[in-house]
Symmetry: D4
Subunit: 152 residues, 8 copies
């Protein structure tokens, strides 16, 4: 029983270091995982469209251009993922995180949702679509360890 | 060129009368549309799981049971829809609305997103996945009129 | 918001009257449901292959012929269903019920599993794949009522 | 005609050494096969949910949490498999094995079912969905040898 | 348990009256079946391309044009069928019948193959892909009766 | 052999009366066809976006808004079609016609391409993807007659 | 522009050396192709079922067992192929070749059909579904060379 | 966060050196991209069919043969691509480019359309289906850089 390589897309909150925590935790355990993610540089993510394709006067189209450019990356990487982890942080609307959870769910991806207990009621439909709901990045590391190696 | 019957799922905000506005507007124009929607009675939507399947002490599982029961309805109706309209209101997290937008998008449904201008930046990725972004229910009526009959 | 017609496939146990209970309960509430099911006449289900296509000396192929003929019906009807209800009774192996639950799940059908509390541990993976787990046919009637009409 | 690498998921019974027998038999013949499997440590499989994500008072939700965590692994690995082998042992309900057989069948995977002759009648619909029905692990090794190398 | 309407595509041999036999047999039993078929007028089927779209000097392209025009009909009707029945007669190559069997199989349609015992060995792979193998049109009528009504 | 109802989407050139010719020809023959089409009012098609959703200073986004609104209609109707007919007229770039041909082809729709002989070389890849290539609307009527009724 | 590795499944006639010709021709040109094929040892192909899984008195089930075991290989390899080449030889019914052509076509595989001119009329529907129709293995080598490297 | 290897298909105009510009630009930045493309030798692309499979007197079938042979390459490579870039040049009908854009869109591929401002109105529906619309090959390089590495 060899452990195959897995691809895990880390969606959601971009203001804390949770992706690094998960990647480091999995590396420390020697797991064969490739992690992917949306662009987590907030400024680049907002301005990539106009930076590359030219300025827009209207903020709505400034945003649209950027969203399209980001989607080149995110839709491709979600499509290639085995597991999609979506973290909801304490702040902001985070509608894009919920959108990616729905998108991944309809593609038949395995879902892990990670958030603090305060958000549990507001996220109940999202949680229901997931195989596992974690409260901390460390739990995500343990979930991936178990899923990939079969060992607790 | 006969106008075929269309099925339109109205997702999102449940605290105002926007679904009725759209349905009435389309009825007044004689459009051949069947509208479907999630359960919009907030209390029923929260408690359907435990009402039907038995009480839970733990609020997390109370919510989970309800979310599953609601999904019996919503996943079926989204799957049958030609167009999914998702409205984001002024208040609340509304993560379920964003989840359903992502779910519908990955199923290849046509999407109309409706929200006020204040939410435009936070919803930019969701908007980008949509064929049209409207600000008012009346605009949604006009979009459906045009899509179904070809007349402005 | 019109209630559309739904198709519900009733899979599993064939030695009690549970399908009739559900159909009667839904009819009493005026639900627009078409119910479908595998053949529930045990003898016919066992012998349909050899009855129609000719006798077999070897019991294995006697069974195989019948299983193929039954699959003409069951695979078609599961494919057309919106919701698949699978009931596990008290007795027998009922592997076919579990097979149909897995089959429906991979097709992306909504699942309701119905069984008594004694089977909960043995059915935990099957239950996890379902939107709802009921203990009685009457609960299934209430689940369908809510899913179809949105009313508790 | 090069022999490509194949991925074979070994589903079902976890109380005997059959997976090792098959893996050893294929290794002895030098077959290019990657074997995958659900977690076969019964205790870990039962308790993984609460071990990682926190204890549950209610046994039903204890089981549900574990089933979700196991599904992170099993749904991913079945989705990646070329062939799914499902073994039914002498004991227990083994509904999960039948569920995985149905799940794999609807995904269009090739199926080998392996069980003793006593279970033939109860498994007739499951067997009918399979390309091959074997009685012993050694036969499975021979089936894989032939499928992969074309040599008896 | 209402009997839904079924669609059955009758593929294969066009020189005997077998389609009429099956349609009459099902009508006599009052089955809710819509039968569809390729064009069974041999001349029309050969010449439809050049009749409608203009003559060809080269026989190969004469045939190609006709095959394309016939495919407008056959691919559409196979795509809409619940069950595909393929009959192999005594004479001719009938490669188109085998092609349509393979095409329907990969689309996940239920298959009934009908042929005399002389062809059994040559058709073994085709038969293996089918849920049922019949020798006579009357058996096909009985198979459809059972699949649709559940009664022998 | 009943003739089922067919849905035919008429894509492409909007400056001549070819859709009406085809619809009239099929009506005269009593064919059970529902015809659908993109919006063929050039002005409405160009301005629907800004008319309904508000003006844009930038022509590019004026066009984008309109293209999205038109796509609500066209993607839905192509998705529901059995056959897609694409006509290339004498003038203009008509890239949208070619785009819809490619879109329909990848969805597995049956394709009829209609154009004059002057465009044959430039359209060779589009023609190759089609079941039939016609030169006149009348030929399209005859193709539909044959496909639907089996009669020349 | 790097040339990616391609997988080509060689279906059909098993009594001449055509697969070797194609493989040698492609090797001589240094093409990055992996060739796969059904089992071409006629005896093994006929008897693999009973050899591995036990004898059958009834020839029909002898054949069925073998067909299932062969399908473990063929369905997997067709599913992994980029291009499926199907050769029809001079003799025998070769229904399995036509079945595999239809199966590959419905899976959306690219098809090359190879046969002598005598079979052109009988194979017209099969040819119509193919991207290319060749008369000789050498032409197949040239087609693969062009498809993979872009050079004539 | 490792950067995975991406596959990018470069569709469209074949009379300028834009593919090389993009490939060189990405190589200079060290991006892990495999580029694929249709055959860009105009003569080979026109004549490949008759060169390999034999001459045709009728120009229409000369073209058809070539289009089929080219499709062996293009359909395979588009199917394997993560991103499809389609460039519309200044001249010619370029219907094949628009067809490939539609084909890629319906397959769910990410799309970048590249053209000069003069074509913006005529390409508005094609642009609407794309994640990004660029004016120069250099912008395409920057889009790929950002999509693959997340860095502007």
């Amino acid at each position: 029983m060899t452990d195959q390589s897995w691809t895990v897309y880390l969606s959601g909150e971009i203001h804390t270091d949770w992706r690094r925590e998960i990647a480091d935790g999995c590396a420390a355990r020697g797991l064969p995982v490739v992690f992917t993610a949306p662009v987590t540089d907030h400024g680049a993510s907002d301005d990539c469209g106009v930076e590359i394709l030219g300025a827009e006067e209207n903020k709505f189209w400034h945003d649209r251009k950027g969203a399209g450019v980001n989607a080149l990356r995110t839709r491709t990487l979600i499509g290639k993922a085995d597991i999609v982890v979506v973290r909801f942080g304490e702040k902001y609307k985070q509608w894009n995180a919920a959108f990616e959870a729905g998108y991944a769910s309809a593609l038949g991806k395995r879902l892990i949702i990670q958030h603090g207990p305060d958000h549990a009621h507001a996220l109940k439909e999202v949680d229901e679509a997931a195989e596992a709901v974690a409260e901390t990045p460390e739990q995500v590391v343990r979930l991936l360890t178990y899923a990939i190696t079969g060992r607790l």
